[in-house]
Symmetry: C2
Subunit: 131 residues, 2 copies
DNA sequence: TCTAACGCTTCCAGTCACTGGAAGGTCAAG
DNA sequence: CTTGACCTTCCAGTGACTGGAAGCGTTAGA
C-alpha cells in the first residue's frame, strides 16, 4: 500500500505519516521505486496513534503507549498510570482555561462595547484592578 | 532602568522582554554602552502584555490590544469584540478538553490496573470500541 | 506514443512564543 | 586588579506538524 491509501485509511495526512517515520513511530519498508510500502498492520498502528493524539497524548506518550501495546507482558497498571497522569494535566489545563474564561467573561460584561473609548477591559489589562 | 530591573518589576523574564523588542512590541532606547534603557511607561506596557498573555491572548492579539490601548479614539466595541472572539476560542478549547477528559476517565475506570496485560485503554486506542 | 496530471520522494523553512546557551563587553565592590 | 553580576548578540532548540519547491514515477486518455 502506498502512503496515499494509508493516509486515507488512517485519517492522518501523508505529511504526518512521513514525520512519524522520521521520529521512529513507524518503519514502513520500501518498494524498488523508493516508495514506502505499508502493511495493513501499519494502518492499525497509525490509527492507534491518531486516536491517542486526538485524546491529547503527546508524541512521547504515544511512543510509550505503543511500546506497552506491543509488549505482551505489560501490566495494565502501567497504562492506567500514564493515562492518569495525562488526565491530571488535562484537568490542570481545564481549570486554567476556566479561570481565564471567568475573568474574560466578567470583563466583557463590564464593557459597554459602544463607540466610546472608555473600556474596562483595557483598564484591567493596564493594571487598574477595579473589581 | 536596565532590563534586569524591568524584568523584576514587570514579572517578565529578560529573555522575553528582548524577544518583545525583536517583534516590535516595545522599543526601548539605548544607553551609550549599548544597554537598553527603559522608561517607567515601558514597565506599564510590559505588565499590560504579561496580563494579556496570562489571559491567553496571542501575541497578535496583544499587538492589537496595545494599539487600541494607545488609541485615544478607539471604540470599546472593538476591544469587546476581540475579547469575545478570544473567549469563544477558550470555550472551544475547554469543551475539547472536557471531551478528552470524559473519554480518558471512562477508560481509567474500566481498566483494572493490575499486573495483567489485558487493558481496555489500549484496546480502545487500538480501535476496539467496546463501549 | 506522447503527454498531462497526479502521486511519490527529499529537503528546507516556517509556525508560536519563547528558552537555553555560548561568547563576549560593562560595571561596581573589595 | 580581579571577581562576579549584569548586559549584549547570535544561534539553536522546543512540539508536532505544515507548506512548498524541485524532481522523479506512474497512469489514463488522445
Amino acid at each position: 500500500m502506498n502512503i496515499g491509501t494509508v493516509s486515507e485509511k488512517s485519517g492522518l495526512p501523508a505529511k504526518t505519516i512521513r514525520y512519524y517515520e522520521d521520529i521512529g513511530l513507524i518503519m514502513p519498508g520500501r518498494d524498488t521505486n523508493g516508495y514506502r510500502q505499508f502493511e495493513p498492520s501499519d494502518i492499525h498502528r497509525l490509527a492507534f496513534l491518531a486516536r491517542a493524539r486526538s485524546l491529547g497524548f503527546t508524541i512521547e506518550d504515544c511512543r510509550a503507549l505503543i511500546a506497552l501495546y506491543t509488549d505482551r507482558d505489560r501490566a495494565s497498571a502501567d497504562v492506567k498510570e500514564l493515562t492518569r497522569q495525562h488526565l491530571g494535566e488535562i484537568d490542570r489545563k481545564i481549570s486554567e482555561l476556566r479561570d481565564m474564561r471567568k475573568t474574560l467573561n466578567d470583563l466583557i460584561n463590564r464593557c459597554h462595547g459602544d463607540d466610546r473609548p472608555d473600556c474596562p477591559i483595557l483598564n484591567d489589562l493596564a493594571g487598574a484592578n477595579v473589581s
